[in-house]
């Protein structure tokens, strides 16, 4: 009998305890913020913008009357601090702002240049709701305007769009995949200096009209976010890198420089590499380049100064040869490989020079030099941050074209006038 009573009491207790606890919340208790932006404020110190997912609209695509329910809303507020802004906003949206699904933190270039990320937003890392995998973006426009535009113009959901941007870092190599954890580790790091994604709004004004003649021709990869000559599609562009010295943004890297930076950091996955045809420079060759393995870096000290010997190893796949010259032949493939190696070597050396001029190690050379120090005391005493200008580097590039696409040779094009080049 006593056993039965015990079981019944236990079951009652389990039932009561299983109902809920203090932390129970329904999904619609929260307003899920997908992007947070910060600019300099007018009415108060900072201007915070929050892009909030509209749970009713997401996925359903329902229309009420003629109006399609927006997938998101953007709220902007001037406030002295982030959490103050959040607290005040909660009173007006009748739900609690929740940051568990926040994908990006966006700061304006002005704030980045003044080195006020931590002051405005950086301490957010202490906040349990913010995931450290949140992307860190420096916007060439105001963060407010960026967030207003940061939504899909092509038919995918907002969340899919925002995740898709990050994936493109690995597909193109034109911007780094920098998350809050990376940025936070590097601002405190004595191994290297931080970088962030550079992004901007393209108002499509950079695409010249047909017939315009006095247009300055700049290579696509040498442009920066928001300046790509195109029209249509999403207005937001992720392109290039913001380089920081501590917390202060000191430089911007264009698309090509970013690709080389990623290669030197060992973070380049793949991307299309286009070069002038070595035999017909007016035409182009496109290859899909992939980093075969992380770069081999040897460090030696000469007269107390570090010398880095870097070897980049890349695999290539021919995508297109405009000239139809048979580079895929064994006798010519080496010629093409050497041409690519030369270009990458020159660009890498130029980027290292840029890092030395800035005296900022955004190439993660510190990761290799630290191995020469047995204890933390000796490493901290050496103080690598700030010594980049003393470094010397040699770069060796090894490109192997292993795939040639679906064609094993390029035949000449024939016309009435015979073979055409």
């Amino acid at each position: 009998m006593q056993r039965k009573v015990s079981i019944i009491i236990t079951l009652f207790a389990v039932t009561l305890l299983s109902t809920s606890c203090f932390d129970a919340h329904e999904v619609d208790n929260y307003a899920y913020v997908t992007t947070v932006g910060v600019d300099k404020g007018v009415a108060d110190k900072w201007r915070f913008s929050f892009q909030i997912a509209n749970m009713r609209a997401t996925g359903s695509r329902e229309e009420s009357g003629n109006q399609k329910a927006p997938e998101y809303i953007t709220i902007t507020i001037d406030a002295p601090s982030f959490f103050h802004a959040v607290n005040v906003l909660n009173t007006s949206i009748a739900r609690t702002l929740n940051f568990r699904h926040t994908k990006y933190l966006v700061i304006s270039r002005d704030i980045a240049k003044e080195g006020k990320f931590t002051e405005s937003l950086g301490t957010i890392i202490r906040f349990r709701e913010i995931r450290r995998t949140t992307g860190v973006v420096v916007s060439t426009d105001t963060a407010e305007a960026f967030i207003e535009e940061f939504n899909p113009k092509i038919g995918i959901s907002l969340a899919r769009l925002q995740e898709g941007y990050m994936e493109q870092s690995r597909q193109t190599g034109f911007f780094p995949e920098i998350q809050l954890k990376d940025y936070y580790l590097e601002i405190k790091s004595n191994y290297s200096q931080p970088i962030a994604i550079l992004a901007g709004i393209n108002d499509f004004s950079h695409l010249p009209q047909q017939g315009e003649t006095d247009v300055e021709k700049i290579e696509l990869g040498k442009r920066k976010a928001g300046e790509i000559p195109r029209k249509g599609g999403n207005t937001v562009e992720f392109f290039g890198t913001a380089v920081f010295d501590g917390e202060r943004m000191v430089a911007e890297l264009n698309g090509y420089e970013t690709t080389i930076m990623l290669m030197l950091r060992g973070e380049y996955d793949r991307g299309i590499f286009t070069l002038k045809d070595p035999l017909k420079p007016e035409l182009y060759i496109s290859l899909n380049l992939k980093q075969r393995r992380k770069p081999k870096v040897k460090v030696e000290f000469v007269d107390g100064k570090p010398v880095f010997h870097i070897k980049l190893m890349l695999n290539g796949e021919i995508m297109a040869i405009q000239s139809s010259i048979g580079y895929e032949k064994t006798s010519k493939i080496g010629y093409l490989e050497s041409a690519i190696e030369d270009i990458i070597k020159q660009q890498a050396e130029a980027l290292i020079e840029k890092a030395k001029e800035l005296n900022v190690d955004f190439l993660n050379f510190g990761f290799h030099i630290v191995k020469a120090f047995p204890t933390i005391q000796e490493w901290e005493k050496y103080n690598w941050i700030g010594q980049m200008e003393t470094a010397k580097a040699t770069v060796e590039v090894d490109v192997k074209i292993r795939k040639i696409g679906t064609l094993i040779k390029s035949s000449q094009i024939l016309g009435t006038e015979g073979e055409q080049d």
């Binding site: 305890l17 606890c21 203090f22 932390d23 349990r128 995931r131 450290r132 995998t133 995740e163 994936e167 954890k181 936070y184 580790l185 405190k188 790091s189 004595n190 191994y191 510190g366 990761f367 290799h368 630290v370 191995k371 120090f373 047995p374 204890t375 933390i376 005391q377 000796e378 490493w379």
Partner: protein, 367 residues
Amino acid sequence: MNEGKVGNIEMICLIVNAIVCKAFFTSVAAVIQKVGTAGWYMTLISAAVSLAVFGLMYIMIRAYEGKNILEIYDEIVGKKAGRLLTLVSCMILFLSASITLREFTDATNVYLLHVSPPGYIVGMFIIAMIVVCFFGIEGLARTAKFFSYILLINFLIVMVLSIQHYQIYRLYPLLGYGLGNTVKNGIMRSSAYGEIILIGIFAKALNNTKDAGKIGLKCLILGGLFIAQILFSVIASFPYFTAAELADPLYIMVSLIEYGRFFQRVEVIFIFTWNLSTLIGLTAIFYGAVISYCHAFDIKDKRPIIISFAISIYAATLIIPSITIILDYVVPTLRDYGWVGFYSPIFIAIIIWFFFKRGKQTYAEKS
């Protein structure tokens, strides 16, 4: 209460959980603060020191076959002094359980149950501990073995998945703050494995007390490898200056796991490991404290003592007003000086046995 008998693997599961569960909380950051990048092998030094002390305890267990370490204390130093040594063990186990439970509560409060009052979390946890303790050491050990395989698989999964964040350069400078500092801290922090004394306390539950030696050896090897793996993965995932800042580096490391759009936010797997391992480990420590207390005062029925100990541990866990006091004073003191509580009864007993009892024992055996 019928204590029953415990198999060797069950005992290993129990003790390894008791040792390893502490590594889920603030201790990892504290170790990195002290020894920097050398933390992952510092803990192996601690394990080696604990193994040496365990060896001393095992000598006594072999000398007094069929007895647990508490009875051996009584034999060697007499009932009154033995009671004192037993109470020292009881006290340190009680403190260890309450401090680790407080760490668990604060971590749960920070990451999972933000609104729930600490008293509620501690209360729920203690109720679970009481239920398991009422089944005695046999029930406890069976539960430990049953869950340990699942916990091991979970642990291995999260460790393997975390490899994406490992950066080998973060292990450099290899010697941390210096070899001397690493060895010193390794010796001082041997209390991380202090729960190995539970083998002595639970020795009579084994089928043969002589098995305690190989069980202890395996527990320390496994415990050392698990803690070293945890420290290694945290140090490889975060630079030493950042890892030392984090309240719960292991949880944060797991929360970073992200393989594509669909495979992310897997910390729930870790939470399962974290909760269950802590429950099993702390229940073992708590039960060890109860057994020690009952032995000191010759109490046969443990159930009232379990209840009163549970109430005491509830109070002790919540008496510290804030997490900063825990982090600044309580946990560092326990980890740095806990070895005094865990190991001094063994040192005292072995010295007395060696100089005063061993000869007599040998003579008695020969004659």
